[in-house]
Subunit: 186 residues, 2 copies
């Protein structure tokens, strides 16, 4: 993995422990994100934290304790943190300008949730010209992340939501790889 | 539907008849898009065409006959056409500036393909502050629009690709509605 590849941690925040999101898949996603983070820090490679600050009153991700990063991926002093109010980490933030200013052309992306903020950020990153690797097993989806009400079909499981979201991205916007593979052969 | 709601037709282009995309779902998508278009034109409401011009040599959507709009949704003189080279109709185009300049705050989106250019454009539109209705039955997905190679799972069917993509969007980025409902009760 070239030195100019940044690790981008999306919305790994305490508020996602709130039961409002429903069942989830991939309970080890945060631990795997932490192992990626340790690998990036050990190499002195760039790390970027993205946090969601919901503008919806009562959201688990509204500014406050729920908006804090989970402890296992808490930013260190000097690591850039970009705060956003929508799904894409590139809208209403300085992320694109920052990446171009420091010469970063490739990203490894992980975090929460696969079909919403992770997918939207990966799509925009790729369309803006960045090379994107999606660390799929350091991402997770919740029951609330898909709504079949438009068709009347049964609800999707969190695993099916995650798997379909990754499959829509892989080969078009990202290369999806497992964390162990990324760390073993960047 | 307020007069300032634009119909946005995404990538309904001849090149999608190429067999390279594999099987598809929703063969009536184009006819339904044409009925939306007729409804918008009858009301004198704004219509926006988006076309993909692939930069990949040999792509069915490279500039040439495959890049032309399908006849049933061909632009009329004076209808704006935005050409793009990536999935999002908002990247590398003047679409956002145009919408803001003419005072359009809401979009009805349809076209090809559900999980790629339609989804990406809907996500960005919503994150940029536009209200988005997705005319889900005027969209379609192809077998090539999902790649399960990252997990080794069996391929997704075009219908499953479409349905999951709409469910990821509905309630978060868009309100998904059927064309007949949109036309009957805008």
């Amino acid at each position: 993995m070239p030195a100019e590849t940044a690790l981008v941690l999306i919305d790994i925040q305490a508020g996602f422990d709130d039961p409002a999101w429903g069942a989830r898949c991939n309970p080890d996603a945060e631990a795997r994100a932490a192992s990626l983070l340790a690998g990036w820090r050990a190499r002195g490679a760039p790390v970027i934290h993205v946090r969601h600050l919901s503008t919806s009153p009562g959201s688990p991700l509204a500014p406050g304790p729920g908006a804090e990063s989970k402890p296992e991926v808490a930013p260190l002093p000097g690591e850039p943190v970009f705060e956003k109010t929508v799904n894409s980490a590139f809208i209403g933030t300085g992320l694109e300008d920052h990446l171009r200013a420091v010469g970063i052309g490739a990203l490894v992306v992980c975090g929460l949730t696969t079909p919403h903020c992770v997918s939207t950020t990966c799509r925009m990153a790729a369309n803006l010209g960045f090379t994107v690797t999606l660390a799929h097993d350091a991402c997770a989806a919740f029951a609330a992340n898909a709504d079949t009400g438009w068709s009347g079909a049964p609800p999707m499981t969190p695993q099916a939501i995650h798997d379909s979201a990754v499959s829509h991205l892989h080969g078009e916007f990202v290369t999806a790889r497992a964390v162990a593979d990324i760390l073993a052969a960047p």
